[in-house]
């Protein structure tokens, strides 16, 4: 099985002005994503999922320092120059985010936004780009795509907007799609449809998907393999079946136990021990802020 994305000992640190250096946001992460699979990264908030995804996409802000190695199709991304990155980003990888509204220009017909993305990467005529954009809108399940080509984003529902964003992300046939909480803002019934769409795309095109989520349910619905993150570290990696049948790490076990959807109705839910609690991770920082506010 060929490897499309390979991370070796990846670390990300955000340099903050003054005061104590915070712990690294991503710490010593190594993993390999195989071509054609949907690989999930699951963890609670602040565990470093988005930072890791942004490191893969080279979308981190200037105050972030990345260490280790990130290879896409055997090409090193860390330290790659802007020119090379720009061409890679369009041709090999695409990213979608939680909030589809933020990825779309509110004043512009959605079809033109997709066509523009196509023309930025392929030497096609405006007419060809439009035809391809309509085909993509149809493919992601926008009914009557040709007629809706000229509609602006707010004429679409949240779920439809995320479909449009996916269509734009597919404009260049990316080999790797990085999706950061793509269904978190959607109602569950719509979430299920968008996940089915992502699954269908990888079946039809062999697109590899790196799917970031806080939701174990989403993982169980769509991922082939999954990595669990806590405090910037990758605690374990397993096939979805193995993870659910036999979680190896105490944190993963505690997280499963805390999920009410799996527990007997009305039973007290086992509480995550303090050493694995996201709240206790944050406590030092909050205490520092509280003392700072009291003194100054």
């Amino acid at each position: 099985m060929s490897v499309i994305l390979s991370l070796d000992n990846v670390g990300v640190r955000f340099n903050t002005a003054g005061a104590a250096q915070p712990a690294p946001a991503v710490d010593g992460v190594s993993l390999q994503v195989h071509r054609g699979e949907i690989f999930g990264i699951v963890g609670e908030s602040g565990s470093g999922k988005s930072t890791l995804a942004n490191a893969v996409m080279d979308l981190l802000p200037a105050n972030a320092a990345v260490s280790g190695s990130i290879r896409i199709n055997d090409r090193e991304v860390v330290g790659l120059d802007d020119e090379a990155l720009r061409s890679m980003r369009g041709d090999e990888v695409s990213m979608i985010f939680q909030d589809p509204t933020a990825s779309l220009d509110p004043t512009w017909p959605v079809g033109d936004q997709i066509a523009e993305t196509i023309r930025a990467h392929y030497p096609v005529t405006a007419r060809q780009a439009k035809a391809r954009a309509i085909a993509l809108m149809g493919e992601v399940g926008i009914a009557d795509a040709a007629a809706r080509y000229g509609d602006v984003p707010h004429r679409f529902s949240g779920g439809q907007r995320q479909r449009i964003v996916i269509a734009a992300a597919l404009a260049n046939n990316p080999q790797l799609l990085v999706a950061d909480e793509p269904t978190t803002a959607l109602d569950v019934t719509i979430q299920a449809q968008v996940l089915q769409l992502i699954d269908k795309l990888r079946r039809d095109h062999g697109t590899t998907v790196l799917l970031i989520t806080h939701d174990l349910g989403v993982v169980s619905m769509i991922c082939d393999r999954v990595g669990v993150m806590y405090g910037g570290k990758l605690l374990e990696t397993a096939t979805t079946e193995a993870l659910f049948a036999n979680p190896a790490h105490p944190y993963t076990r505690a997280l499963f136990a805390a999920n009410p959807a799996g527990a007997p109705r009305g039973a007290r839910l086992p509480v995550i021990p303090a050493e694995w609690s996201v709240e206790s991770l944050r406590e030092a920082e909050l205490l520092r802020a509280a003392i700072g506010a009291a003194n100054g």
Binding site: T189, G262, A263, V271, L286, A290
Partner: protein, 272 residues
């Protein structure tokens, strides 16, 4: 046993803001539910289905166009003066992120204290001790009493919100998405706390959530809302195991359920 809360044929439409715009469908369309003393009614539905509007109508914060909210045998809309103040003491809200309901300038302890003062609970000299009792009740470290909401975690803030709600010794809590903003591990703790309150204090609640997995866990009865209407209601077991309405079935099928035997798709074809 007589119901603690009865909601009868509530209707509520919001005007669309734009006079020339199309009239939006009603936020509540002939909604009736009831809650017995000490019981939890789960209210589930997708966003925009009218859950929060119903919650606010019960609390008397939004005026319905027609229909009645009857608390302990008395129609809420008819209340005024002392009787209204008494109703507000007995029915308390808990919101998704108490950031909105906690005063950002007040410490956690002050927020709870204000609640005691406002409803005149206990002798003034006794109230500091009551604040600490309430902190204890909701599992908050008393050392956090001096902290501002911005210096508390989401779970701690929600505990302060619940402590402030409990201060008036309410008989009914209207909890609108109380765990939706919380991480899974923190959510479990808050759900445990809410279940304890029901068990230990006999507080009844209307538990509003878009998440059927959570609603199922804490509720004695479930009402399913869809586009301003209650499309199905019944005891939790019945609704979960033999849903009658199509929308409930869709909701059940879409609920992501981690199970040790996760339903698997056929393996993905390897591209050549």
């Amino acid at each position: 046993m007589a119901d603690l809360l009865r909601v009868e044929h509530l209707r509520k439409s919001y005007t669309s803001g734009r006079p020339w715009g199309r009239k939006p469908p009603p936020a509540l369309n002939d909604v009736s539910v009831s809650v017995a003393r000490g019981r939890t009614l789960g209210l589930v539905g997708e966003s925009g289905s009218g859950k929060s509007t119903l919650g606010r109508c019960i609390l008397g914060l939004t005026r319905p166009d027609s229909g009645a909210v009857i608390f302990d045998g008395v129609e809420v809309q008819a209340l005024s003066g002392r009787a209204l103040a008494d109703f507000r003491r007995r029915v308390q809200p808990v919101f998704q992120d108490p950031f909105g309901s906690l005063d950002p300038r007040w410490s956690a302890g002050r927020s709870v204290r204000e609640s005691l003062d406002c409803f005149g609970i206990g002798a003034p000299a006794d109230r500091e001790r009551r604040v600490l009792d309430l902190f204890d009740r909701v599992g908050l470290n008393p050392a956090l009493a001096g902290r501002l909401p911005t210096h508390l975690s989401g779970g701690q803030r929600q505990r302060v919100g619940i402590a402030a709600a409990l201060a008036s010794e309410p008989e009914l809590i209207i909890a609108d998405e109380p765990v939706s903003a919380l991480d899974m591990s923190v959510q479990a703790q808050i759900l445990n706390l809410l279940m304890d309150l029901q068990k230990d204090l006999g507080v009844a609640s209307v538990f509003i959530s878009h998440d059927l997995g959570v609603v199922e866990h804490v509720s004695d009865e479930i009402a399913v809302m869809y586009r301003g209407e209650i499309v199905e209601t019944g005891d939790t077991e019945t609704v979960m195991t033999s849903p009658r309405h199509d929308y409930t079935r869709t909701l059940l099928a879409a609920i992501p359920r981690p199970r040790s035997s996760a339903p698997r798709r056929p393996p993905c074809p390897q591209p050549t």
